[in-house]
Amino acid sequence: MRQRLRFYLGDELREIDAVDPTLTVLDWLRLSERRVGTKEGCAEGDCGACTVVVGRLDGDTLRYEAVNACIRFLATLDGCRLLTVEHLKGPDGALHPVQQAMVDCHGSQCGFCTPGFVMSLLALYLNEERPDGQRIDDALAGNLCRCTGYEPIVRAAHAMYEIGGRGGDRAGDRFTDRAAMAEKLKALRDEEILSVGAGGRRFLAPATVPQLAQLLLDNPGATIVAGATDVGLWVTKFQRVLATVVYTGRVRALRRIEDRGDALVIGAGVTYSDAAERIAALYPDFGELIRRIGAEQVRNMGTFGGNIANGSPIGDTPPALIACGATLRLRRGEETRELPLEDFFLEYGKQDRREGEFVEAVILPKPAAGERFRAYKIAKRFDQDISAVCGAFRLTLDGEGRVADIRIAFGGMAGTPKRAAGAEAVLLGRHWTEETVRLGMEALAGDYAPLSDWRASASYRATVAANLLMKLYVETSDPAAETRLVGDRRLAHA
C-alpha cells in the first residue's frame, strides 16, 4: 500500500500525502497552487475553460490527452504528467506556437475560454500532424467560446503548424521528448494499491484486478470511479461527500481491448478515445456514434464500463452495444458471470449489480456477414450534447429480402436503455419494404412510453424513434438517398 500521491506538474515531481479524495484538479490548481490561468466556466465538464493536458503511459508510450480539470480528481493523476497553460511559454518568454497562432489569427476576444482552447490545441498539436477540418472540429468540440464564433480559432488550429517556419517540425518543442518523460513516469509505476486521503476519507487506487475485487469486498459502500465524467458532477454540482472512492484507472488490465476472434473483449476501464478506432473498424457507425459522445475531453476520461455501470437511460454506448448483441462480464471477488447487456438494466436507477461487484468487461461480438448496423444520436446539438434519443439497429436480411434478424435498442425512450421487442417481433420474417417498416414504426409506439423534459418532448422522442426506423430503411434500400448531415456521409450506405 502506497500512501503518497505522485505525479509530475510540468517537469516538477509532486508528492502529496494528504489529499481530499474528491479534490478536483481545477480547485487544486487555482486554490492551492495559485495557478489561475486555468479557468472555471461550468464545473461540469461541458465548457472546456478548465482544459488541461495530461500525459499518461499507454503501455510503455506516453500519451497526451486534453481533459477537463473541473471534474477530474487530483488523485487520479497518480503516475501522470499534468500540463497547464502556464507551462507553454518558453524560458525566454516566447509564446508556444499554439499560443502564437491564436494571437496571430485573433483567436481570443474576452480571453476567458482561451487557456482551455490553447490546451485543447496543444493536445492536438502534440498528437497529430496536419489534422483536417473535421478532426479540428472534433478536437475543439468540448471548448465553448461565446465571442469569436470559432472561425479564427479554427484558423489558428491550421496555422499553429506553420509558426516559426517549422512547417510541422517538432524539434525543439519542450513537450515532445516523450521517451525521457515516459521513463520518468515508468519509474513512478508500481503494482501497489495507492491509498491517500484526508479527514477520514480515502481514495483507493488498485493496480490489479484482484486488488480491485478485494477492495470492493472490503469497502462495500465505496464509490467506484472510472472516468469521473459523471461522479465528478456529484461532487461539483450536488456537493456530495464521498467517504471512500475506489478508482479503476490505474488497473492496466481493465484498460485493454482483447481480440477473442469472434468478439472484442473491451475492458471496463477502456476510454471512448481508446476504443474508437477498434470499434469503428468493426462497426463504422458505432465509431461515428463514439465520435459524438461528449467531446474530446470527456472521451479521454469516460469509460465503457462507467457508461454501462451507471445505468443512465441516456448513456450512448448501451443502445449500440445492445443492438450488437454485446454481453457484460461482472466480477465479484473471484467470481465472474456474464449476461446479455440488456438484462443488466432492470429499471431506472437499478442495475443487476450486487454489492462488491463490478463491471469487468463488455464483450462485443464481431459483425456477421451480411449484417448491417446503424446508430443515430439525436440531440439539440451535434457535438457535446446528451441524446434526446439514441437509436441503434442491427439488421440481417435473408436471400429473399426478408428480415432474418433484427435488434433495435433505444436510449432516451424509457427508464433504461431498452430493446424494442414489439417492433422487432413485427418486423422479423417480413419482407423489408416500406410497408413493413411502417408496421414497425407503429409497433414502436407500443414499445416505449418516453418522458417529456428539457431535452425533448415525449411526442418528439416517439416520432423521431419511429422516423429513425424509416431512416434505416432508406439507407438500406436506396443507396442514392442522402440521409446524413454530419460525419462521413458514406456511412449511410456502408
Binding site: 466556466g41 497553460v85 491564436m102 474576452c110 480571453g111 470559432y150 454540482k237 451535434f382 429513425l468
Partner: protein, 792 residues
C-alpha cells in the same frame, strides 16, 4: 485545406505609418495574456488576507410569502462567519436600475421567482459558504404564479413598466384598404448570455466606510450608485474597478449590481474583504436573460408585395421586476421595421410581469425580436403571393433619398438619411450567387427524399445610440509621462470586443506614436466618473471621441509650448511617425514631452464627448433617437433532415457595414462572433422552465450554445468597402457590437425556407424560435397537414 492566413485583412503598418494607427488591423491588446493565462479576471486577483467567501441562499418558489425562515443551521455550519438578510441592509434594500424599488437585494416577506436571493452567507472558504447556503429552513406559503407570456396576457396583464406605442399614418385604415391581408403570431424564445466568466465581485473595505469593488460589470457607475444606495454611503466613498470581463453581452449591464452590493455589504459589516462567485447553475437562475416575446402581427399589402400597413403587438416576458424591460421593449418597436418602410403602422409593447427572473439587456436589446417580426411579415407576404422572399424584401426597403421618394420616415418619425441597404444587398446578392443557388437548392430539393435545403438573404438596419439620450456621453483621462509613455483611461469596459485596442489606436493616431506607447488601464470610477454602460454598441463611438478630445487637449498644449519655445508658428508643429517636427527641427515625442514638463506644461487632460443631433420624446413617440444606422446583410444556406428536424448550416455570406472601420480584424471578429451568437439564439439555444417555474436548462450540459462544428461550413465575411459613416463619428467608423447579431436571422429564415419547400413555397411555415430540431420537425408536420387540408 488550411486557409491562407497570410492574406492581410488590411494593410499592416509600413514605415510610413505608426504601429497601430486607426484603420489598421491590430491584434487585441491583451491577446498575448489571454493565450498564456496571464490576463487577470476578478477571480484571479490575489485575495487580500482574511477574505470571506459569500454565497447566496435562493428562493425555491416562483411566488410565495415567506412565513418563517430559520437560518440557524446556516450560521452554525462549518466555517461560517456571518449571515445577512434584508434586515442587515443599512441603506435601501433595492438594487433595481430604474429607481422603481421593485428589485430587493434580499427578498424578505415575498419571493417572486425561483432563484431570487433571500440571504447571503459569508464563510472562510467558498465551499463552506456554498454548503451552508443550502441549510436554511424556509417555510413558504405559495401564491398563484404567472410563468408564461400566455398566462400573463390572458390573466391580469400586469406590467412591470408602462408600455409604448409608435404610430405613423392610420394603420387600421391602411389594413382595411389593402388588397391583401395576413395575420399571425410569432413566438421567439429568450437567451442566456452564457458569458464564459460567470458573475463575480470582490469588495475590499477601506476607512470611513469606503469600499473598493472589483467586479465583472459593464456599468461600473451604476454599481457605484447601487452600492452607495444599499450601504447608505455617498457615491464618493465607493470606487469600482474593472480591467476586463470574460464576456458580458448585456448580461453584466445591470445584473452585476446584486453581486457587487452583496460583497460590499459583507465587507462593510465585517471589515473583511469579500468575494462572491456563484456556481454556473446559480448564475443561470439568479440573473435575467434576453426577453422572450410573442408577437401578433397584421399586414396589408398590394399585389406586388408592397406593404401598405402594419399592426403589431409585442408581448414580452419581463419577469418579476422592471430592470431594463422598458427600454428593451421600446427598442423592439424601434426595430420592428428592420429596413422596411411602413406607410402606416401601429406598434405596441406589452412588458408583462411574470414570476420568473427579471429579464434584461442582451446584445441587440429587444431590437432583434422586433427585426425577426419584420422578417416574418416579409415571409408571409412572399408565400401569400408566391414570390421569392428576397424580392419582397428589396421591394419594401426604405428609400435611398429622403428628399425625393417619400419612403424614409420611420414609425418613430425619424427620417432615415443614410440608407445603404439597396446597394449593400445588391452587392451581397451578387457575391453570394443568390439566384444561381436558389435554382440549385430547388434542384436539390426536387431530387432529395429526406434532406431539404433552404436559402435566405436577410438584411439588418440597426439604430445606434442609447434611446435614453443622457447616456450618450463619455469621459476619458489621458496622462503623458515624462518618458513619453501614455496612460489611457476611459469609461468603457473591455469585454473582448477590442474597445481598449480601438481607443488606444485613436490616441496613438492623435499623438502619432506607436500603440505600444499607450497603456490602457483598468476602468475605474475614481479616474473617469459618471460613465455610461458599455452597451448599445456605443463603446468606441463614445469613448473613442472622449479619448481623442483628451489627447487633443494635451497636444494643443504641446503645440503651443513648442511654437513658443522654438519660435515657430503653431501650424509648423507636426506630429508624425513617433517624431515631432517643430519647423525644420525634429525630436522624439519623449524629448518634446520632457521639455514641456520642464516648462511646467500640464501633461494630463480629461476629455468629454456627447453625441450630437439626438432627442427622443417617448410620450409622443417622436424624435431622432438614433445618430445613425449600421447596416448589413447575410445569406445563409442550410440543410434540414426531414425525419429528425436536425440541420446544418452549409454556407453563410456576410457583407457588413462598419463605416470606415477603426480595426477591420477586430470588427470582423465582432461580425463572426455576433452572427454565431444570433444564430444560436434562433436555433439551438432553448430556455426550458418546468411547471413550477424552475429553469431546467441552467448550465452548458442542458443549455446548448453553438459549438465549434455548428459554425457555417463555408463562412465568407466581408466588410463593406468605401462606406465612411456619413456622420462625424470617430474617424468615420460605425458601431459594430450589436448589429451583426441580427445577421443570424438568415439561418432562421433559411430553415423556414427549407421547410416551406415541402409545400411548394405556398404556405408560410410559421416556424417559431428557437428552431430546435424538435420545433423544426413539428413545423414540418404542421405544414404538411395544412398543405394536405388545402388540397382539393
Amino acid at each position: 485545406m488550411a486557409p491562407d492566413i497570410t492574406t492581410p485583412i488590411a494593410p499592416a503598418a509600413t514605415p510610413d505609418r505608426i504601429q497601430g494607427a486607426v484603420h489598421d488591423s491590430r491584434r487585441h491588446e491583451s491577446a498575448h495574456k489571454h493565450v498564456s493565462g496571464e490576463a487577470v479576471y476578478v477571480d484571479d486577483i490575489a485575495e487580500p488576507a482574511g477574505l470571506l467567501h459569500v454565497y447566496l441562499g435562493l428562493s425555491s418558489r416562483a411566488h410565495a410569502r415567506i412565513r418563517a425562515i430559520d437560518l440557524s443551521p446556516v450560521r452554525h455550519a462549518p466555517g461560517v462567519v456571518a449571515v445577512f438578510t434584508a434586515d442587515d441592509v443599512p441603506g435601501v434594500n433595492d438594487i433595481g436600475c430604474m429607481g422603481k424599488h421593485d428589485e430587493p437585494l434580499f427578498a424578505s416577506s415575498l419571493v417572486e421567482h425561483v432563484g431570487q436571493p433571500i440571504f447571503a452567507v459569508a464563510a472562510e472558504t467558498r465551499d463552506e459558504a456554498r454548503r451552508a447556503a443550502r441549510l436554511a429552513v424556509i417555510e413558504y406559503e405559495d401564491l398563484p404564479a404567472v410563468l408564461t407570456i400566455a398566462a400573463a396576457r390572458d390573466g391580469e396583464r400586469a406590467l412591470v413598466t408602462p408600455p409604448m406605442t409608435l404610430r405613423v399614418g392610420d394603420a387600421d385604415a391602411a389594413l382595411t384598404a389593402a388588397p391583401h391581408r395576413v395575420e399571425g403570431r410569432l413566438a421567439i424564445g429568450g437567451q442566456e448570455h452564457f458569458y464564459l466568466e460567470s458573475q463575480i465581485a470582490m469588495a475590499v473595505p477601506g476607512e470611513d466606510g469606503e469600499v473598493l469593488i472589483h467586479v465583472s460589470t459593464q456599468h461600473p457607475t451604476e454599481v457605484q450608485h447601487i452600492v452607495a444606495h444599499v450601504l447608505d454611503l455617498p457615491s464618493a466613498a465607493v470606487t469600482v474597478e474593472v480591467r476586463r470581463m470574460g464576456g458580458g453581452f448585456g448580461g453584466k449591464e445591470t445584473q452585476s449590481n446584486l453581486f457587487a452590493a452583496c460583497t460590499a455589504l459583507v465587507a462593510g459589516r465585517t471589515g473583511r474583504a469579500a468575494k462572491l462567485r456563484p456556481d454556473r447553475d446559480d448564475d443561470f437562475q439568479i440573473t435575467g436573460k434576453r426577453h422572450d416575446f410573442e408577437i401578433d402581427y397584421r399586414v396589408g399589402f398590394d399585389d406586388s408585395g408592397l406593404i401598405e400597413g402594419v399592426d403589431m403587438l409585442f408581448a414580452a416576458r419581463a419577469g418579476y421586476a422592471a430592470d431594463l424591460s422598458g427600454p428593451v421593449t421600446d427598442r423592439a418597436l424601434f426595430h420592428a421595421d428592420n429596413g422596411y418602410f411602413y406607410p402606416a403602422a401601429r406598434l405596441q409593447s406589452l412588458p408583462l410581469k411574470t414570476n420568473t427572473v427579471s429579464n434584461t439587456a442582451f446584445r441587440g436589446f429587444g431590437g432583434p425580436q422586433g427585426m425577426v417580426a419584420a422578417e416574418r411579415v416579409i415571409d408571409e407576404i412572399a408565400y401569400a403571393l408566391g414570390k421569392d422572399p428576397l424580392e419582397i424584401r428589396k421591394r419594401n426597403f426604405y428609400g435611398a433619398d429622403p428628399e425625393t421618394d417619400g419612403r424614409s420616415l420611420t414609425p418613430y418619425h425619424q427620417t432615415v438619411t443614410d440608407n445603404i441597404l439597396p446597394e449593400l444587398v445588391a452587392q451581397l446578392e451578387e457575391s453570394s450567387g443568390y439566384w444561381r443557388r436558389r435554382e440549385e437548392v430547388r434542384a436539390f430539393n426536387a431530387g432529395s427524399r429526406i434532406l431539404r435545403k433552404g436559402l435566405a438573404l436577410t438584411p439588418v438596419k440597426f439604430g445606434i445610440s442609447f434611446t435614453a439620450s443622457h447616456y450618450n456621453q463619455a469621459g476619458a483621462l489621458v496622462h503623458v509621462y515624462t518618458d513619453g509613455s501614455i496612460q489611457l483611461n476611459h469609461g468603457g469596459i473591455e469585454m473582448g470586443q477590442g474597445l481598449y485596442t480601438k481607443v488606444a489606436q485613436v490616441v496613438a493616431e492623435e499623438f502619432q506614436v506607436d500603440i505600444a506607447t499607450i497603456r490602457p488601464t483598468a476602468t475605474n470610477t475614481g479616474k473617469v466618473p459618471n460613465t455610461s454602460a458599455t452597451a448599445a454598441s456605443s463603446g468606441s463611438d463614445l469613448n473613442g471621441k472622449a479619448a481623442q478630445a483628451a489627447a487633443r487637449t494635451i497636444k494643443e498644449r504641446l503645440v503651443a509650448f513648442a511654437a513658443e519655445n522654438w519660435g515657430v508658428a503653431p501650424d509648423a508643429v507636426r506630429f508624425e511617425r513617433n517624431r515631432v517636427w517643430v519647423g525644420d527641427r525634429d525630436m522624439s515625442f519623449a524629448d518634446l514631452v520632457r521639455a514641456a514638463y520642464m516648462a511646467r506644461v500640464q501633461l494630463s487632460a480629461t476629455g468629454f464627448y456627447k453625441t450630437p443631433k439626438i432627442h427622443w420624446d417617448r410620450a409622443a413617440g417622436r424624435g431622432t433617437p438614433f445618430y445613425y444606422f449600421a447596416y448589413g446583410a447575410a445569406c445563409a444556406e442550410v440543410t434540414v433532415d426531414t425525419l429528425t428536424g436536425e440541420y446544418v448550416v452549409d454556407r453563410v455570406d456576410i457583407l457588413h457595414d462598419c463605416g470606415r472601420s477603426l480595426n477591420p480584424v477586430i470588427d470582423k471578429g465582432q461580425i463572426e462572433g455576433g452572427f454565431v451568437q444570433g444564430m444560436g439564439w434562433l436555433t439551438m439555444e432553448e430556455l426550458w422552465w418546468d411547471g413550477q417555474g424552475r429553469l431546467r436548462t441552467h448550465a452548458p450540459s442542458t443549455y446548448k450554445i453553438p459549438a465549434c462544428s455548428d459554425r457555417p461550413r463555408i463562412f465568407n465575411v466581408a466588410l463593406l468597402e468605401n462606406a465612411p459613416n456619413r456622420e462625424d463619428t470617430i474617424f468615420r467608423s460605425k458601431a459594430v457590437g450589436e448589429p451583426p447579431f441580427m445577421l443570424g436571422m438568415s439561418v432562421f429564415h433559411a430553415l423556414s425556407d427549407a421547410v416551406a419547400s415541402l409545400a411548394r413555397h405556398r404556405l408560410c411555415p410559421r416556424l417559431d424560435a428557437p428552431a430546435t430540431p424538435e420545433r423544426v420537425l413539428a413545423c414540418i408536420a404542421a405544414l404538411r397537414e395544412r398543405d394536405a387540408s388545402s388540397q382539393p
